[in-house]
Amino acid sequence: MIDANRGKNIAANEVWVLGEGSIDGGLSDTVFELSLRARSLADALENYSGERHTVSVILPLDSGTADLARPEEAGRAGADRVVVIKSEGLVFDRAACGKTIAHMAKSSPNGVPKIFIASATAFGRSVMPYAAALLETGLTADCTGLEIDPKSGLLLQTRPAIGGNIMATIKTPNHRPQMATVRPGTFPMPRPDARGHAKVSEFAIPEHLSARTVETVAFSPYSREEGTLKDRDVVISAGRGLRRPEGFKLIARLASLLGAGVGASRPAVEMKWIGYPHQVGLSGQTISPKVYIAAGISGSVQHLAGIQTSGTIIAINRDPEARIFGVSDVAICGDLYEALPKLIERIEAKMGR
């Protein structure tokens, strides 16, 4: 059976953003980042077609935390409306959430949105593929660029591919919505003085979608030290070249002086010198801090692919042939146990300690 119209839904002049609440009850930063980008995509679509396109934030929230979020704030980033879906256990039942947003898109009076984007977080990367499959459309993962093609009006979705060493630009020519998840921190945030209020409405979940099969038993937030590396201006990683697990104390000391995150190579994590949330590279976290310092990391392809979009890369290694030097801005050939204490000393002196 071939259905030639599979996924070729009628599309409305709408750009949707799948929003998230933050752990402290407000809107996640990604809502502002993506709303601002969605606004510029909607404006580009207006230039292309002459028709106004609206930006809507779809915001699933647990009933417990729903009252804390201030959804109208998304208007600061250019969103026209926010549709809140309040339901117990919805956010953490990814399938239920995917079904709900697919249902919303399908039952939207003017047709599915033309474009539907989300942040490439644990939430976005599980809910969006679920919804995309139900909408029978394509989804591009972890994009680092989104533009409207001025010739076709199609969404150009750019993502690192094959280990981050090539950039692929992907289109969804016929299926709607055109869906993408975006690596957090890819696009600028609205200016702090930006104003605007989005119209807020609530979407009532239909009876047949209200059942929950996945039940949350507990949530244990990380301490700041364990937390994500993604929002840090500086990340300092260490690998096998530390030679002993206690070496991470030195790394942590430097990191705390700089407010930096502590990262690690895969071997350091595999030897259980430090936990997996710290692993940097394709098999861990892909990051792009302003400054990346790699100490005692030789630079496997999978590690390099995870850091190559960093601002300035500083590598310290005893091996003059270490592969990481080839992608570094500053290559320090020497012992990290000599270089880092000296650096700590200098920083402390500068801070007047």
Binding site: A132, K171, E215, V234, F325, A331
Partner: protein
């Protein structure tokens, strides 16, 4: 309980070299391996299996993915199915999920599906949740602990800001991360089975998938441009074994930190 593992054969990135000019991966001559996270998925199944349970491995890929399926048998899987057909080639995550779902439906739906969070080559992490959606079953991603409890499973998901502990009834699909377990080792019985067991082959026609339902032709997404950004950087070099160069290296770092408004 019947468990199905979704496995992908990927290039061995430890063997892959990087073109120093373009930064592109040179795959020629590199071996192929089981996607490492799919081995964690297999081991997660082994860890919770009890008498009477079965563990099947399903893969879509070229004919040579059979080797990787044999490796999974050596590691303890009971049987293996390979979906291979030229018509499957070039499919995006949606088209791939369609084929895997067709295989799963033909085998009879399992109680639990486990797969790696993402493959080291495509890195989309989408096929798992898409398979779950097409089957209409729940999904949990980034799982780092998996246990059987009465009425289903309990698991931890490692999220950006903390660890989420959940329970679910069966069926469910879970995607796992590497710290869920240590990679499995082959067993003697498994090695024997890897030699003798037949790998079941499924094709587009055996799965009843027509032209335009799989592969590139059925994929909603199209790659329209490939660019190779320059990844190599011209490093300023310091030989830190010489005290004066160590001094200037530290000085340089201080300057970078202050240029970036960190100090």
């Amino acid at each position: 309980m019947r468990v199905t593992i979704l496995m992908k054969q990927v290039p061995d990135t430890d063997e892959v070299k990087m073109d120093p000019e373009s930064g592109a991966m040179i795959r020629d001559g590199a071996g192929v391996i089981v996607n490492p996270l799919d081995l964690n998925a297999l081991e997660a199944a082994m860890a919770i299996r009890s008498d009477g349970d079965s563990v099947s491995v399903v893969s879509m890929g070229p004919q040579r993915a059979e080797e990787s399926l044999r490796e999974c048998l050596a590691l303890g899987a009971d049987d293996a199915v390979l979906a291979t057909d030229r018509m499957f080639a070039g499919g995006d995550s949606w088209a791939t999920a369609k084929v895997l779902v067709a295989v799963i439906e033909k085998m009879g739906r399992p109680d639990l599906i486990i797969t790696g969070e993402k493959a080291t080559d495509g890195e989309t992490g989408q096929v798992g949740p898409e398979v779950a959606a097409l089957l209409g079953i729940p999904v949990a991603t980034r799982v780092t602990r998996l246990e059987r409890v009465s009425g289903g499973i309990e698991f931890d998901c490692t999220l950006e800001d903390g660890i989420l502990t959940q329970r679910s009834s069966l069926p469910i699909l879970v995607t796992v991360q590497s710290d869920i377990n240590a990679l499995p080792l082959p067993t003697l019985g498994g090695k024997k089975r890897a030699y003798t067991e037949e790998i079941k082959i499924e094709t587009a026609s055996s799965l009843g998938l027509g032209q335009g339902e799989t592969g590139l032709g059925a994929s909603p997404t199209r790659v329209v441009k490939i660019e190779t950004p320059k990844v190599t950087r011209d490093a300023e070099k310091f030989m830190a074994s010489r005290p004066d160069e160590l001094e200037s290296a530290v000085e340089r770092i201080m300057q970078i930190l202050s240029d970036n408004a960190i100090l």
